[in-house]
Symmetry: C2
Subunit: 415 residues, 2 copies
C-alpha cells in the first residue's frame, strides 16, 4: 500500500465519527483549533520562516513571498476565521423537504456530509486552516495538498489542528496534510476514487485544468474568472467609471476582479477617456481594439485574442468597443469563464437581455463583480467560487459541502 492510499484509508476510517458528531462537539473542536493556533503562533512563524527562507533562495517574487508569509496578525485572523464558523448553522441533518406518499411511506430528504474531501491548492497557507474548519463544521474528513513552497507551514498548521481535534475526542485523521511535494502523490490523490468523494482544486487556471484532465474523482472547479463589464450606450457613465474601476483595481489578484471592458460604440468616445483618467491612479495598463487606440491614443497596446482570453490578475485590462449589447454578449460567450459578468445600463430591455443570455454564475446589472463572494452574499465563509455547473455554482459555503440522503420509513410497504 502506498502513502496516498494510506491517507485515504485513514480518512475513511475517521469519516463516520466526524459525520455523526454533534454540532456541539464540532464547535468545541473549532474552538480548540482557534485557541491552539493563537497559542502556537511562535511555532507557526518559525516553521513559516523556513518556507520563506527557501522562497528567497529560489528567487520567489516579493508579491508571492507576501502571500506565503504568516505573522502574528495573519495567525490571529486565521483563528478569528475559525471562530466565525462556530456561529454558522450546521447543515448536517437539515431536512430539505419531507412528505408522506399515498401508501403512507414517509420520505425525508436530508443533508449529510459529502464524506472525504480532497483539496489541492497553491501557495497561501491560510487555506489549510480555512478549508479544514469548513470541512469539519460540515462533518467531512479532509485531505489537504498544498503547494511545495508552503510545506513546512502547512504541516505545522495541520499538526496543531490534529492535536486540537484529538483533545476534544475526535480522531486526528479527520484533518490530514499531505507530507509530500511530489507530483506523483498529487496524481494519485486525483484518482483515489475508493476513498475520496470529491476533489476541490483551488488556485491558478493551470492547476485547475491539470486536475480536470487527470482526476477520476468528481471535481468541483473553482475560481478562474475572466470577468467583463459591458458599458451600454444608455449607461450612467459616472456609475460605469466607479464600477469598472472597482472591478479592476480594488483587488486585482482575485477571481471576481474584471479583466476586460466592453464599451458601446455610441458612448466610447466620451467614456474611454473618463475611465483612462481614473485608471491613472493605479497605472492600469490598457490593451485595446483599433477604435480604443483611436480614442485613447498610442499608449494603448493592440489587444489580440490572447489578451481577451487572459486572466491578468494584475493592473492590466483589455478593452473592446462593440456595436451592440448583442456583440457584447457574443464576446462574453466566447471569452468568459462563466464566473461574474456585469452590464451598466439604464435600458430595461438590455438589462433583461444581458441577464438572460449571459451564461455565468453571477450576472450583474449596475453593480461591481467584486460582490461574488460568500461573505458579500451573506452566506459567510466559502471554500471557493464554483465556476462549473454541477453541484454548486457561485460561492460555495457549508451547504455545498453536503449531499443528500433520503430517509424512508414505512410499515411493510412493497410494490
Amino acid at each position: 500500500m502506498n502513502y496516498t492510499e494510506q491517507l485515504g484509508i485513514n480518512a475513511k476510517n475517521a469519516e463516520p465519527e466526524i459525520a455523526s458528531a454533534s454540532t456541539m462537539l464540532k464547535n468545541k473542536a473549532l474552538s480548540a483549533i482557534s485557541k491552539a493556533l493563537t497559542e502556537n503562533a511562535d511555532l507557526i512563524i518559525a516553521e513559516n520562516a523556513k518556507d520563506l527562507q527557501k522562497a528567497r533562495e529560489n528567487g520567489m517574487s516579493v508579491a508571492m513571498q507576501d502571500r506565503l508569509k504568516l505573522d502574528e496578525k495573519r495567525i490571529k485572523d486565521m483563528a478569528k476565521g475559525v471562530d466565525e464558523i462556530i456561529a454558522f448553522n450546521d447543515p448536517v441533518g437539515h431536512i430539505i423537504e419531507g412528505f408522506t406518499r399515498p401508501n403512507s411511506l414517509r420520505i425525508a430528504k436530508t443533508r449529510v456530509p459529502l464524506g472525504v474531501i480532497g483539496i489541492i491548492f497553491e501557495s497561501r497557507p491560510n487555506v489549510t486552516v480555512d478549508a479544514s474548519a469548513l470541512c469539519l463544521k460540515s462533518g467531512n474528513a479532509v485531505i489537504l495538498k498544498g503547494g511545495k513552497e508552503a510545506i513546512n507551514s502547512n504541516k505545522c498548521l495541520g499538526e496543531i489542528m490534529r492535536k486540537a481535534v484529538e483533545s476534544v475526542g475526535l480522531p486526528a485523521d479527520i484533518i490530514q496534510v499531505v507530507d509530500s511535494t511530489s507530483r506523483e502523490t498529487t496524481n494519485e490523490l486525483m484518482r483515489l476514487n475508493k476513498y475520496l468523494d470529491v476533489l476541490i482544486p483551488r488556485g491558478s487556471a493551470r492547476l485547475i485544468q491539470a486536475v480536470v484532465n487527470t482526476a477520476t474523482v468528481p471535481v468541483i472547479e473553482t475560481g478562474t474568472g475572466n470577468c467583463h463589464v459591458y458599458v451600454d450606450d444608455s449607461a450612467d457613465l459616472e456609475m460605469a467609471v466607479d464600477i469598472v474601476d472597482n472591478g479592476k483595481t480594488q483587488r486585482p489578484s482575485v477571481c471576481n476582479a474584471i479583466e476586460s471592458l466592453l464599451v458601446h460604440k455610441d458612448c466610447a468616445e466620451e467614456f474611454l477617456p473618463m475611465i483612462a483618467e481614473r485608471f491613472k491612479a493605479h497605472d492600469v495598463k490598457i490593451y485595446g481594439c483599433d477604435r480604443t487606440i483611436e480614442i485613447l491614443g498610442e499608449t494603448v497596446e493592440k489587444a489580440t485574442e490572447e489578451e481577451y482570453a487572459k486572466e491578468f490578475q494584475d493592473y492590466i485590462i483589455a478593452v473592446k468597443v462593440v456595436e451592440s449589447v448583442d456583440e457584447a454578449i457574443t464576446h462574453i460567450r466566447k471569452f468568459g469563464t462563466k464566473h461574474s459578468e456585469c452590464i451598466v445600463t439604464k435600458s430595461l430591455e438590455n438589462a433583461e437581455k444581458f441577464q438572460k443570455k449571459v451564461d455565468a454564475s453571477a450576472v450583474y446589472v449596475n453593480a461591481s463583480t467584486r460582490f461574488t463572494d460568500g461573505g458579500e452574499f451573506g452566506y459567510g465563509a466559502e471554500i471557493g467560487i464554483s465556476t462549473q455547473k454541477l453541484h454548486a455554482r457561485g460561492p460555495m459555503g457549508l451547504n455545498e459541502l453536503t449531499t443528500i440522503k433520503y430517509l424512508i420509513n414505512g410499515n411493510g410497504q412493497i410494490r
Copy 2:
C-alpha cells in the same frame, strides 16, 4: 474538425434558443413529439426490425432482444411518457431564494438549464425518447449515444423528434443522436469539455466505470445498485419475507432490486426457511455463508466475496447471517454501492443507527428498496438514479437537469 466536435458545435449553437424558450413553446414541442411518434409507429417498427434482425444474427439472448424490441404498445407508452412530462412544472426560471443585502443589492438565486447534456446508454431505445423529452422540458440541448445494437431504432426516433421540434420553430439540433457506433466517438464525446456541460452514463456498471475513468466532462453516475435488506432479530418476519421477496423478485433487472440479504443470527433459523419457501415461486438461486448452508441445506451454494459484491440483476441472491446490526452496517459499507439499503426491525435504536450509519442515497426502515424511483417518490419521470454524491443523489428529475444563476441588481454598488 471531426464529427464529434461538429455535434458539440451544433448543440452549443442550438442551446440559447432552447434555454430561453417559454414553457408553452417547450410543451408544444413535446406534444408534437408525442404525436409524431404515434403517427410514425410503422416506420419506427420497420427500423427497429433491422436492429432485431441483426441481433438474431449475432445470437443476442432472447431477454436482450426483448429489451431492444419496439412494438405498437411500447411506442404508445413512449408517446404517453412524453405527454406526462408536459404536465410537469418547468424548473427553469424558478427563484430558489432571493434577498436584499444591507447595501440594497438585490440577489436572486435562480434555476437555469445545465446547457448541453451528453447521454451514453445501452440497448433500450426508449431512453432516446425519455431522455430527450426531459432535457427539452428543462431547457437543455442533448446529444445521445446509444448502443450499437439499437442504432437504426435510435436514429429513426431521433429524426422523428428533430422534425417535430422544428415544426414548432425550435432548432432541430437541440436533439442529436450520434450516428456512429465507434468507440472512438464515445471517447471523444467523453472529453468534449468545450461543448458538453455534463455527461450522464446509463447502463451497466462496466459502462459507467469506463465513463468515470475516461471522461474529463463532469459525470453524473447512475444506476449501479448492490442493494441489501438486513433482517434484524426484532423484525416482524412476515413483513421481512414480503420486503425481501419484493426487493428480489418483483423486477430483478432494475437497479433498486436487492442483491444480498443479511439476517441476524437470532432469527436466521426461523427466517431463512420462510424466505427460501417464498423464493421457490421464482426459483431464486441462493448463495450463502456457512451458517446459511447449515440452515437451508446443500441446495445453497457457498458465497464468496465475489457474490457479495455482485449485482446479479437476476433471480439470484447472496445471503449472510450476521452477529449484529453493526456487522450488517459494516458489510454494507464494504459491499454496497450507496444506492438503496433497508433494515426490517421493530427496534427504534437499530432503525435509527442503521439510517444514520449506512451511507446510501436512500435508507429504508420497513419498506421495499424498490421504491427508489422518481415516480414512487412523487417526483415524476427521472433520467436516472444518481449513486454519486455530487449534484444529485437518488432519483434525478427535471430540477437535477438545471444549475444556478445568480441575478444581481444594483444601482452602482461597489466594494
